[in-house]
């Protein structure tokens, strides 16, 4: 019987077994990485809006407080998207003739709401309440990132469950004094390792990780 395989087949067979296992493992790893990538989570992605509203300008340059527009963030589950009238508080005079702002004026004139596209869109099976997080010393920045530096708003974090749990399990790493909630670029006065546990105690932060906390 002549040889069916070349001498090199010996090495090749062993390499292909190891290589195949590595390939399968690598592919599985890639799929898992893909699941956490911004391709799936939609983090750091600009979204086309009816008006390209710039938080960089309004928050960063003008120093307008978050609550000026998101009025219900302290009292309700929902932070609130401002009605067109809030825009018109200022834009009745500033840029009043700008064609860029025509959709805003049209909305105000015709009493038709602007249709903003949701950027931070939690799945509908998740219950999230802004007010309790504000009350317990969670800064806007912790979840929404440096909004004052975003020309167009984007989702700064993955909003995946492990991200939620990361804070619910270690609130002391993220808590800040209530007076600093709306501060952008907050730096703790003393080390977070000291301040965090103090605030957790003071604010009585007891984040639950049972299923029904968020899936209710």
């Amino acid at each position: 019987m002549p040889q069916i395989f070349n001498r090199s087949a010996n090495v090749l067979s062993k390499v292909s077994i190891v290589g195949g296992l590595l390939l399968v493992g690598g592919l599985l790893g890639l799929v898992m990485l893909l699941g956490r990538s911004s391709y799936v989570t939609r983090a750091n992605e600009f979204i086309e809006q009816p008006i390209q509203f710039s938080h960089l300008h309004h928050v960063g340059d003008d120093g307008i407080d978050c609550r000026y527009c998101h009025t219900s963030v302290e009292t309700s589950t929902f932070a609130g998207i401002p009605p067109t009238k809030t825009c018109m508080n200022c834009h009745s005079q500033i840029w009043a003739n700008s064609p860029f702002l025509e959709p805003v004026r049209a909305s105000f004139r015709d009493d038709k709401p602007l249709r903003w596209i949701r950027v931070h869109d939690l799945p509908d099976f998740v219950y999230f309440n802004h007010s309790i997080h504000v009350k317990k010393g969670m800064g806007c920045e912790s979840c929404h990132g440096r909004v004052d530096q975003m020309p167009l708003i984007e989702q700064a974090n993955s909003l995946q469950m492990d991200w939620c749990l990361n804070c619910h399990r270690n609130p002391e790493q993220f808590v800040r004094p209530r007076s600093e909630i709306f501060t952008m670029g907050y730096r703790p006065a003393v080390s977070q390792a000291v301040l965090g546990p103090q605030l957790v105690k003071e604010y009585q932060i007891q984040p639950s990780t049972t299923c029904s906390t968020c899936h209710r």
Binding site: M1, I4, N10, S13, G35, Q160, M161, L165
Partner: protein, 470 residues
Amino acid sequence: MAEALDHPHDPLAGMSTDGLRTPAVIAPGHDFNSVTDKIAGIVLTKRTPIGWFFGFAIAFAFLLLLNLTIGKLLLEGIGIWGNNVPVGWAFDIINFVWWIGIGHAGTLISAILLLFRQQWRTSINRFAEAMTLFAVACAAMFPLLHTGRPWLAIYWLFPYPNSMTLWPQFRSPLIWDVFAVSTYGTVSLLFWFTGLVPDLATLRDRAESPVARKIFGVFALGWRGSARHWHRYEMAYLLLAGISTPLVLSVHTIVSFDFAVSVLPGWHATIFPPYFVAGAIYSGFAMVMTLAVPLRKFYHLEDFITMRHIHNMTKVMLVTGMIVAYGYVNEAFFAWYSANPYEGYMMLNRMTGPYAVFYWSLILINALMIQLFWFRRVRDNVALLFVLSLFVNVGMWLERFIIIVTSLHRDFLPSSWDIYTPTRWDFAMFTGTIGLFLSLFFLFIRFLPALAMFEMRTIVPEAKLQGDHH
């Protein structure tokens, strides 16, 4: 294996001497060459029998039906099935348990009978193991697909670091099931492939087409029959058999926990693990019989799958069937003895309720019909045994149907009582998996040696050493 060599005085080994009463495990007159020629010929022939194409076409049609059903299921969701409150588990778990049960015979034959040095396992173990693999594949479809979107359900099936940092709930019998069935499938595959390697080497050495030689050569791993290799090979085979034996018992035990761990009349019973394991072996042997009878007829394998095998399989079915029947008696006895009104009603409902006809059918088949196996004339009638084995398959399916549906459809609250009606898609899915099973089996007997050639060689007289080399 080498029992013939190890134990020349084993009464079951080698040629039978008492002629008529106990048929031999292999017909006389065979040697290494004739055995190899016959079995390898089925695979290496250039002419595929027309009957094979005919059978495969039918099986493949049902496989296509399965594909259609799965496509429909993934697009529309499991609402196309008849499952609904209160019968939330229906065809999916019935068929799952049925297929897993069938799968048990393969490992039992190849592992437990090996440990007991039963030589009659040799000519049926290969295709019984293949049957196990295909049955497990069919079984696994149901729990996977009943999640609707299996790719989203992986996180509670398998432990891996996911983006939810969630882990499977290890306190749940359903997760035990996942581990039991996946381990069972994996170990069966390793066992089966290990057994195939020396035969693949034979096919490699006998094949004429260079492509076939390459393909068989790749999978034969360069097996050359070295004594050093055989030495470790035998050890590995024995160890795998030893490992598989408790495994095969654990799998259906764990499947029975799916029910027994819950608190529902008709399910919450300590008899379930042994009762399920016996039922699994019973239905598995019935399926081996269902496959073996046409296989030996069609390929003229009467020399290898002899009346000895047929008789022994029938006897195993008789014994395990009686254990199952004992289980039925036991369920009825405890329904009465527990004095629990729910248990009592469950039993009464089984016997006289809307599904009573199925209950009495399964009693008729699994408790009464098998008593025919006591008679030698029945055991000698191969055609009759084929029909009876089909009945056993049906009977065991009905058993699972009764256990699942009658326990669920009469809920604790009479307001939620309902009748379960399977839809056409339920039947399409079920018959589709039968199509998958048979398609795989047809491919297997065409492209791989359906009987273990190297093990068959060990039981021909030529394999016996004459001299005393010790």
